[in-house]
Amino acid sequence: MSAGSHAVATPTIEELDAEVERWVRPGQGWRLFLRRFLGNPALITGVGVLGAYVAIAIAAVVYYGPTLTTPPFRVDWAETIPPPGPSWAHPFGIMSGIGVDGFGEVARAFPIDLGLVFLALGSAGSVGVLLGAYAAVRGGAADFWVSFAADVEAGMPPFFFVIVLYLGLELTIPPAWRLYAFPLLFGAVLWPYYARPVRAVAKQVVTEPYVESARAAGATRAHVLFRHVLPNALYPALAQVPVDVYSIFFVFTIFPFLNCSSGGLYNLITPFPNLFFPEWGSLLAQGTCYGFSIFAPPGYWWMYFFPAAAIIGLGFGLTFTCDGIDRWLSTRRRA
């Protein structure tokens, strides 16, 4: 074709997308979004719960300020048996053994636990999903090495693997950074659990006709990856989130509990600086150790109920949110 001809240039995929957006009248997009959101009760519930958690976390940061991680400790509370139960002065009771107020401790833990969980899941999820989807789209050597690394690492029980990594690096990490290192190591351990299923689904998605069409229309690899493959291959990663919440709190709780209940047979492995550091898993372990008796259940139930409720609430919030997003995306997939 000559340079002076009047042939119509083939639009790029970005131009086609922009054309589709122009078809929607101003304001209609938000109404559609709202309608789909309100028709998704799981997403409403999940976002509501997580929103409440974030609001409490922000309030805790504002209210406690620099003393957020240093709750007041009282020796007489630590040694008081039975500990005072819930009251107006102490709505979650007193946590004997570690000598802190239950409500203050649980409240202070909101920003800390949200940070830990989102750092761990965020790093594992983002790395795993991106690598899995990229390997499927790119194929070849990239696919081989990502699959190989994920298969090798997924063979290690995450429970042991994260402890091996943490204790190996513990001596090289300044104490102040260990709190951040721990969730990042979780990310390093858990990413294969996102990469493997996402890659498997993405391998099917890339063969779908609409992806082929996009490629034929000249879409870049990044466009195919983020616009077409990722949204349709994300759902197995969403199903993985509750399992990883389980894994994270499994490690946070089990070592303090075994250490406390065994009287020192099992040494304490924790990234937290002290026993009354406000973190739900550690609180739950201490509260159960000092407050629960298999001979007279429920014992001093307030010592373990409220930390457990906070963990379960966060898990439910994440589960509902992920289910809701899955439903949202599957609606788009069906469409």
Binding site: V152, G155, P242, L265, N267, I269, I294, F295
Partner: protein
């Protein structure tokens, strides 16, 4: 206490007069020859106008009516008037329901005193207490500050200290406050009253002496750190320990420091004194005994080496021959007071309730009473360490045990006082006598035992006891003489007794001490030979383990003492009226004579594996050549076979990666972080290079990696310890793996069946109530922390299990106590509760015909398997449920519906078969989570499996060296935990591989028969 202050008591002069007068009046019936020489089991029924006599109360007091465990000023815990001989009588009274009692119960005559943590001090009527209490049990009560000390009632005042620093004195009969004095800090544990002076230690590190009459301060002495436990007073000296491990002796009159020493570790309890010995135990269970006169150390025992991780916060207790130490883990050690040799150890290694044993025991001449983590009061023979009886209360107690005149008293965490035994039923009568040999020569140092305690004869052979009404087995024992028993019925004043002890006729007793594992003779083992509850002689085994002693006819107990490499053991033989030879004393090893460098089977397996690989290669090449010859394409493998091959080739790469990670993070990085000499983890010499030299460090990395792999694959796993055992790591692995295999077999079967049925049913009924319920339960099961699930199930099942089986659900085999109650631990159970011949506990119990053990072990295994399933199945369903729903919509299922095949047939035959490969893949994906779950359950249920062993190893050794020894020149890596993790990961990888291959095989689309 003065006699005048207690109207119901008389002075000592009255005792003598009354006793002499009544002795002349009494009719004493003795068997023939009774005055010339008693024979065994004589009966001395007494009669006389007992009702006309008043009880001689001061005798009761002077013998030790209030020498309870926590109440005596020397803190020895020793009570010469013994406790009950059975648990047949026991009552509970709760004066302070809900408020824990942490201080000890003390008794003074007819009253017992106890205080709760809130500060209520109660005076209780003991007669009422003996029958369970009533409206008039509390005679008076008073209030002091929180966390009061054990009261002192050795005078006519009740003295109590508290956490606000007050020392208060109350009238013992009315409870009226006499005075109180405030000191800085808290009063620690107890007050001691001697010669009109009250001695206390405080949390500010001060020892103070107050006037008993007025509460004014006589003197104070500052020791620096906080006082760690109740001060003890004896021989004109005050002994105080401080939390930093210090032990100080002060002059009781002036407070001047006489000497100071230290046990070395931090302290949570105070000292105990008896005679010229003062004992102390630190938090790491180190035990020290010093001379009270000059503070010279007599012996010290390092508990942390014997039982790593165990702690001790209860004070030691002493009787004239033995020191007892009770630890967190409910290990009760008995040491020879003079030498420090362990006489025995009552171990509860496999029992963890979550409650530490903090209660200080009480001891009499021949029995020690301990309240431990099993929530039982145990009466343990001082001689043998065996449990004589148990009384189960089912409540937690951290208070000291108190023994007083036939009773044991203890307060608990629920505010109740438990009483075991029949009590004194009033005040005792004096019992006197003389012991001679057959020639009429008086015998000093003869032990005179009664149901209530011990006395010994003086230089003239005389003895003196105080016995309340009742029937007593009066025993007279002296080494080298026959033990004489008399049945003494006391209903009133008792006439003087005359006892003759004949010399024992002994016969030669010979045999060998052998290693129970190898059968080899063990020289140098010290043997204590006992007659019936009577020490005869000590001897040491010679070359080949041979020994020879003289022993009398009848039951003879040979107690082999623990040595460097062996545990102690007690063997009983029936000695005939003549020589006995060929007795074998098998001592279980604590350090087996197995070289940690033994190559084991790996050297056999490696050549076999190489041979198999080469043979396989030859076979493949031959098959390929044959196919080409007959005109077929050279590919000899089907699509499925190629998949299997490719997938299998991934395994070695995975294993090498894991090994590298374990080496880098387990050995190399920690070594680099601590600048450890390279000789500690590599084959290079110590001074070969510095960490600042990159080239040399790279060389050390390679050399260390090579050594790591060589050690791993040559079986050089080093030695490790678990509890008090120190063995080659391989031995531990062999002992504990079968437990895990047996549990995994049951747990996986239960999990697979339940997950299959639940998953298939829920997926088939997608979005119906059943499915929603399963999904919800699955999410809840995922989010509720696993250990709460374990605790919840145990809280429901613990009591029914205990009632039905007579044993707790902890562990796998029945607990040692269960076996001891039925004789002894059978020989097919080894020193680490490992079983023979197969190592699988249920199977071995069946092979040895122990059917009750089979039932209990199966029940415990089943319970643990159910716990694992309760945690693991929700995880599994998260992966597997959707697969069922997809399978239910596949074309062959739709076609089957169209043909009118019944729903149940479609569900279980068409869909059920289709989902099996998917379920196998889900299992492969969740196998790492399963391994973690089983490890948790093993650890929490005290199952001696590889999971709990690994957790112990990881938490113990990872932090303190992580595979290398930091001390220069120490042995090369002891990398057992790395080995264990590697083997577990290998199991996971092989399991995953097998699951994926099986899944592919079962999938009809896999093309496994493409070329057939």
């Amino acid at each position: 206490m003065s006699g005048a202050s207690r109207p119901d008591r008389r002075g000592p002069g009255g005792i003598v007069l009354v006793a002499v007068a009544m002795a002349a009046l009494l009719v004493v019936v003795l068997p023939a020859g009774g005055s010339g020489g008693a024979t065994p089991a004589q009966s001395i029924p007494l009669a006389g106008p007992a009702a006309a006599l008043e009880r001689v109360s001061l005798v009761y007091d002077s013998i030790g009516g209030w020498d309870t465990a926590a109440g005596a000023e020397n803190r020895s815990g020793f009570s010469p008037i013994g406790g009950p001989l059975s648990a047949s009588v026991g009552n509970t009274y709760c004066p302070a329901a809900g408020l824990p009692m942490r201080s000890g119960v003390v008794a003074a005559g007819a009253l017992a005193f106890v205080a709760d943590v809130f500060g209520d001090v109660f005076a209780l009527n003991r007669t009422e207490l003996d029958v369970g209490g009533g409206n008039h049990t509390v005679v008076w009560s008073a209030l002091v500050g929180t966390n009061p000390t054990t009261p002192d009632v050795s005078t006519n005042s009740v003295l109590v200290g508290d956490s606000v620093g007050l020392v208060s004195a109350f009238d013992i009969e009315t409870g009226g406050l006499r005075w109180s004095h405030s000191l800085n800090g808290s009063i620690v544990d107890g007050v001691a009253v001697v010669n009109g002076t009250v001695y206390v230690g405080t949390s500010t590190g001060v020892v103070a002496a107050l006037s008993l009459a007025f509460g004014t301060v006589n003197w104070t002495t500052s020791l620096g750190p906080a006082v760690s436990g109740a001060v003890a007073v004896a021989n004109g000296r005050v002994f105080a320990s401080t939390v930093d491990g210090g032990l100080t002796a002060l002059a009781a009159g002036t407070g001047a420091i006489l000497w100071r020493t230290s046990i070395g570790g931090s302290l949570s309890a105070g000292p105990a004194v008896l005679g010229d010995r003062v004992a102390l135990v630190d938090n790491a269970t180190a035990v020290g005994v010093w001379n009270t006169g000059n503070g010279s150390l007599l012996w010290r025992w390092n508990g942390s080496a014997a039982s790593p991780g165990d702690r001790a916060e209860a004070a030691p207790v002493l009787n004239p021959t033995t020191v007892f130490v009770h630890t967190h883990e409910a290990n009760l050690y008995a040491f020879n007071l003079s030498t420090g040799a362990i006489r025995w150890n009552q171990s509860n290694t496999f029992f963890h309730t979550g409650y530490p044993a903090l209660s200080t025991p009480a001891v009499t001449a021949n029995v020690v009473y301990a309240y431990d983590a099993t929530q039982q009061l145990k009466a343990i023979s001082l001689t043998t360490g065996r449990v004589l009886w148990r009384a189960t209360f089912g409540t937690v107690s951290y208070a000291p045990v108190a023994v007083d005149s036939g009773e044991v008293l203890i307060g608990d965490e629920t505010g109740c006082v438990h009483v075991v035994g029949s009590g004194s039923s009033g005040f005792p009568w004096p019992v006197r006598g003389v012991v001679t040999d057959t020639n009429g020569t008086p015998l000093p140092h003869v032990s005179v035992f009664t149901n209530l305690g011990l006395n010994t004869t003086n230089a003239s052979g005389g003895f003196f006891l105080g016995l309340p009404n009742g029937t007593y087995d009066l025993a007279f024992a002296l080494s080298g003489y026959e033990e004489i028993h008399q049945i003494l019925v006391v209903t009133g004043p008792v006439p003087d007794d005359q006892v003759v002890l004949p010399k024992i006729v002994v016969h030669p007793l010979s045999g060998r001490v052998v290693d129970s594992y190898s059968g080899l003779g063990v020289p140098g083992v010290q043997l204590y030979i006992y007659g019936v509850d009577l020490f005869l002689v000590a001897v040491t085994s010679g070359p080949g383990g041979a020994f020879e002693v003289g022993a009398p006819q009848g039951a003879v107990e040979i107690s082999a003492q623990p040595s460097d490499q062996h545990d102690g053991v007690v063997v009983t033989v029936a000695m005939p009226a003549g020589p006995l030879s060929g007795v074998t004393v098998g001592v279980p090893p604590t350090g087996l004579p197995i070289s940690p460098n033994d190559p084991y089977d790996v050297f056999i397996l490696l050549p076999l594996a190489a041979l198999a690989t080469a043979g396989g290669g030859v076979a493949v090449l031959a098959a390929r050549a044959r196919r080409v010859t007959i005109g077929l394409p050279p590919a000899i493998l089907s699509r499925f076979a190629r998949y299997v091959l490719q997938r299998s080739l991934l395994l070695p790469a995975q294993l090498v990666t894991i090994l590298t990670v374990l080496y880098i993070f387990g050995t190399y990085i920690p070594a680099a972080a601590t600048q450890t000499p390279v000789c500690n983890f590599s084959a290079l010499s110590c001074g070969y290079c510095a960490w600042s030299n990159p080239g040399c460090v790279a060389q050390a990395f390679g050399s260390g990696y090579g050594l790591f792999l060589w050690n791993l694959f040559s079986g050089n796993w080093g030695t490790t310890s678990y509890g008090h055992l120190v063995e080659p790591a391989w031995t531990f692995f062999v002992w504990y793996v079968p437990y895990s295999i047996e549990l995994a077999g049951v747990a996986l079967a239960i999990s697979a069946v339940s997950a299959y049925v639940i998953g298939l049913t829920a997926g088939w009924n997608r979005d119906r109530p059943l499915d929603v319920g399963v999904r919800t339960a699955s999410v809840i099961g995922l989010l509720v922390p696993s250990f709460l699930v374990v605790l919840a199930m145990f809280s429901v099942l613990y009591t029914p299990f205990l009632r039905f089986f007579g044993d707790t659900p902890f562990g796998v085999l029945p607990a040692p106590g269960w076996f001891e109650d039925r004789g002894s631990i059978p020989k097919w159970i080894g020193i680490a509760y490992n079983t023979t011949p197969t190592g699988l506990p249920i199977l071995d119990a069946a092979l040895n015909g122990a059917w009750r053990v089979v039932v209990i072990t199966s029940a415990k295994t089943l319970l643990q398997a159910l716990l694992i399933a309760a945690i693991y199945v929700p995880l599994f369903l998260r992966y597997a449920r959707n697969a069922v729903a997809q399978a239910a919509e596949e074309p062959h299922v739709v076609a089957a519906r169209a043909r009118g095949i019944p729903e149940s047939t479609i569900r279980w035959r068409h869909t059920g078969r289709r989902v099996i490969p998917i379920f196998l893949l889900a299992f492969a994906a969740t196998l790492p989570l399963y391994i973690g779950t089983q490890s948790l359950v093993e650890a929490m249920t005290s199952d001696p499996g590889i999971g709990s062993l690994l957790l112990t190893q990881m938490t113990t050794f990872l932090r303190s060296g992580f595979g290398f020894h930091p001390a220069p020149g120490a042995s090369k890596p002891g990398n057992f935990y790395q080995v264990t993790i590697f083997l577990l990961v290998a199991v996971v990888l092989i399991g995953t591989l097998a699951s994926e291959i099986l899944s592919r095989y079962l999938d009809p689309r896999s093309g496994r028969s493409e070329n057939s």
